[in-house]
Assembly symmetry: C2
Homo-oligomer: 369 residues x 2
DNA sequence: TTGTACGCGTTATCAT
DNA sequence: ATGATAACGCGTACAA
């Protein structure tokens, strides 16, 4: 026995059009108790005296519908408080407007700025962001596969490095994956990176111009893809000076890629100001802020007289009066726009080769150099 | 004519069990071209030589399945890379594990900290966050109604004030709505607020203890629900001193509820240090940071000698060496846990009266008082 | 323990 | 311009 006969309820076999025509009153009369009857297109159809097909066409803007009918259906829909069920729609169309956003927490300021712009841009394009937090890198593969369960139309990875084997599953389903500021070791995925190479060069050139001789690069233990590239280019640019002994270089390592990491590293590495590095490039601004505070308030050093510091990202705090950090700027909003453009191309079905885009960077001089 | 006969393909009418048993090879043979055939439970069933029901039962941990069958189905599922289609599942069960998160951008540091913990907690509970950015407050109602289209199991509002009429739509569908640090003028919604009243008192008491006499409260133009309560309580607590003329009070207003707002307000209101307020309570930390920087670096004032400042929230930056802001602390993680607890109760169906929860606050003394 | 058949709410297709 | 019907992929009541 059927749970409920759809057709008889929808009235396609038995119209019974004007039988009960006051659902608002009916629903309103029983407040809070599990009335639960969600208004469907069948309800609108019955109430407006048309078929579900017509309702569907009206609400999806199909041209071939008479103005009178369209207006009537629109009104009944509003009146009943009908909201289309996108879940059901996507069952039929096999298209979803969900975009998966893979991140790990919201503690990294630049990533937050990027996500902010990204969420906005995604929404502007008619999609909805579904956020996945992968705190445990080991679960990254599993978490990304979970996204498939929601039939996402695309995925943006802003943290961690997905295991290569997940690539095939996304490829097979034609679900585009974009890696942003990641290594890009994912088969079939597109990659967007800011110009880490240029950033390292800019930092080196600027610090070389200060006349300081003891260089350092501060990055988190183990490194990250972006950080490593920045550091390597930085050192390469110092090579001539290092070769002839004019300058020295010391790699500096902190325990976490954040304010506290930078702070603790400074306390540890800058205790002897006479010998410690005095021209430091930090892998990211957040680390640089911690280093600045420790240098100034714990060690009593003057910036930039005693130590010159260059960061990377240009997060909001870098502009604040208390820091005035000189840093390599990458634009979160441009990064977000590039990401969404790429996604839309892929979703549209453009069958291009894997893309590798580079976002330009620029040096922003403030007061720490 | 049907697009494709489901039953014949699924084999429920015509089993044809061992007919074609190498779909991996079949799919793999045509790389990248719109093969598109997403693996469904029917595929797994056919491959494992069982019915779809059995597959469904195996994967949802139904007891009454033989171990042999279960194992075989599990393996086939893995082998085919089968991922359950939660969209289809929720069509049937009429339950969704999507939770709508209504926010407006990610520029407010405390809200970001809260969202960070909230996203984590939601995910831990087996739900997924669907983020909606309502930059335009006027669109808030529409945006919240959009959430209904995704059949969300619940909604958390962290920004803006939803128009009262949306309440009924959520009530009617039994979709719980939780307002966090909002006014709570929504019919049927639960509300969680930090203890703004106690916070205002704590700030007043602390500043009164400094011996300073010119008090001020800095808030964004037009005010916010939380800010207004904090300010009103603050002033009430000053009432005795104000009444007998021992102290004075000046309301201070900034254009935006952020760093720049605080900065500009300080430049404007603290230019004459002899007469300007010297004991200032800021509606939120982010504003306080701007005020501090302007006071110190633009106006050359000493903190707390010339001006004592108290903030509200205890965001991460407040702890940083450059600020060391004395502030009223509310715990983002407790707020998130309370929110998720409430949601889970409601989703479970507990039919309680509207809840109004208060999160305790505490004074955190640092160096700005 | 396992299979059959139905329905969730929508859109695409075909028919009128 | 509009209506009837068949899917979409899943869970589950019922049958066996």
């Amino acid at each position: 026995m059927p749970k409920r006969s759809k057709n008889s309820a929808a009235g396609e076999f038995a119209p019974m059009s004007k039988a009960e025509h006051k659902p608002a009153t009916r629903d309103g009369a029983e407040p809070g108790r599990d009335v639960q009857h969600i208004v469907t297109s069948a309800d609108v159809a019955r109430e407006a005296g048309v078929s579900r097909s017509t309702v569907s066409r009206c609400l999806s803007g199909d041209r071939r519908i008479s103005d009178a009918t369209r207006k009537r259906v629109q009104e009944t829909a509003n009146q009943l408080g009908y909201q289309i069920n996108k879940i059901a729609r996507s069952m039929n169309t096999r298209k979803s407007d969900l975009i998966g956003l893979v991140t790990s927490g919201l503690s990294d300021p630049f990533r937050v700025e990027f996500l902010d712009k990204l969420i906005f841009a995604i929404q502007q394009s008619g999609y909805r962001p579904l956020v996945i937090d992968v705190s445990d890198p080991a679960q990254m593969g599993t978490s990304m596969m979970h996204l498939l369960q929601y039939q996402v139309a695309g995925v943006v990875v802003t943290s961690g490095s997905p295991p290569p084997e997940v690539g095939v599953h996304f490829l097979k389903r034609n679900v585009p994956v974009v890696l942003v500021n990641r290594a890009g070791r994912l088969d079939g995925a597109d990659v967007i990176n800011c110009d880490n190479v240029r950033g390292g060069e800019l930092a080196a050139d600027l610090l070389l111009g200060t006349g300081k001789t003891r260089f350092g690069f501060l990055n988190v233990k183990g490194g990250t893809f972006s950080g490593n590239v920045r550091g390597e280019t930085f050192v390469s640019r110092l090579a001539p000076g290092l070769a002839n002994g004019d300058i020295s270089f010391t790699p500096l390592v902190c325990d976490s890629a954040d304010y506290d990491g930078g702070f603790n590293a400074a306390v540890k590495f800058l205790a002897q100001p006479e010998t410690a590095p005095n021209a430091i490039f930090c892998a990211k601004d957040h680390i640089a802020l911690g280093l600045l505070d420790a240098a100034r308030f714990e060690l009593g050093l003057r910036i930039p007289e005693d130590i010159a510091v260059v960061g990377f990202d240009d997060i909001a705090a870098a502009r604040q009066g208390a820091y005035q950090l000189t840093t390599v700027r990458q634009s979160a909003i441009k990064l977000a726009d590039m990401t969404v453009d790429l996604l839309r191309q892929r979703i549209r079905g453009d069958n291009l080769a894997d893309q590798r885009l580079i976002l330009p960077v620029e040096m922003t001089r403030r007061r720490t150099v």
